[in-house]
Amino acid sequence: MSDIKRCTRCILPESLSNITFDEEGICNHCRKYEADFKNWDSIKERKFKEFEEILEKAKKLKRPYDVLVPLSGGKDSTYALYLCTKIYGLKTLAVTLDNGFLTRPAKDNIRNALASCNADHIFYSINSKNSSELFKIFTEKTGDFCNACMRGINYSIEFAAKSFNIPLVIKGSGRRVQSVSQIKEVSSLNTASYFANVIRGTDAGNKFRYLSADKNKLEFQKIAGGGSVIFLA
């Protein structure tokens, strides 16, 4: 293993199919990150201002909730909840999808976080017998089951946002901290259309068809580097 060439910065190995190294031994993924975010210090104040402007626009709509926060109990989503409730005082609805395998520590964190702020919460739990059936089909047909879960998460977000007419969804994510997940070898699809095609003709087809609602529409939850806010008159 010691003979394998690795990025001198991030240690990714040359066994990745799309990796290249420059004369300094730094990989293309590190260079891309550098190109995308090297100016962060010079733009962070502007991005922060943009963030606050987005929140203000959402608040001015005076909907039942200003913002929806998908909450898994991990650090990132809990921090999003903290910002929305305790820093910005937004009327916040959190939504959690339990895929049947949500851990006890995560459930404890969710309970503690909600007790520490004033957010309301929707907890949508899929019975592990059902999710196991779905994961089995995904694994057999695609070799991967995480996409099934991601579709469930996205569905729960869509459901909550639509039910309460919530203008803004703030996720504990972002390109700046997810550069690795954009590497081809570890990235994956989770569109409703993909989900629908995988379950078609299977026993789970009827049971989980609702998760592929709006399968012909592109999903809005794709993170696009903090792209522009969509306000339509």
């Binding site: 190995p13 943009e50 999003a80 851990t103 339509l232």
Partner: protein, 87 residues
């Protein structure tokens, strides 16, 4: 006025090193890292896709992508990786 729900990633606008975030969460939200891991503590099945990567890609351990991803976050350097023996 029609308002299409906008999805944004918090870290595209506000960024703190996760070590600082964890300090805030422990203090303000009674958050715990439970088993000592702050990454993906939410799913019992979380190790499986990482294990699958180790089968698919030579010279990958279940820690490789995580370690690599922490470099941009400013919380990783080669010395740390070597001392952990996780690369």
């Amino acid at each position: 006025m029609r308002f299409i729900p906008q999805h944004i990633g918090m870290y595209d606008y506000i960024y703190l090193p996760f070590t600082e975030i964890i300090d805030i969460l422990k203090c303000e939200m009674n958050w715990s890292d439970a088993a000592g891991s702050v990454e993906h503590l939410d799913c019992h099945l979380h190790d499986i896709p990482f294990y699958k990567d180790t089968l698919r890609i030579p010279y990958i351990t279940k820690y490789t992508f995580h370690s690599s991803g922490t470099y941009p976050a400013g919380t990783y350097d080669k010395g740390t990786g070597a001392s952990e023996g996780r690369s």
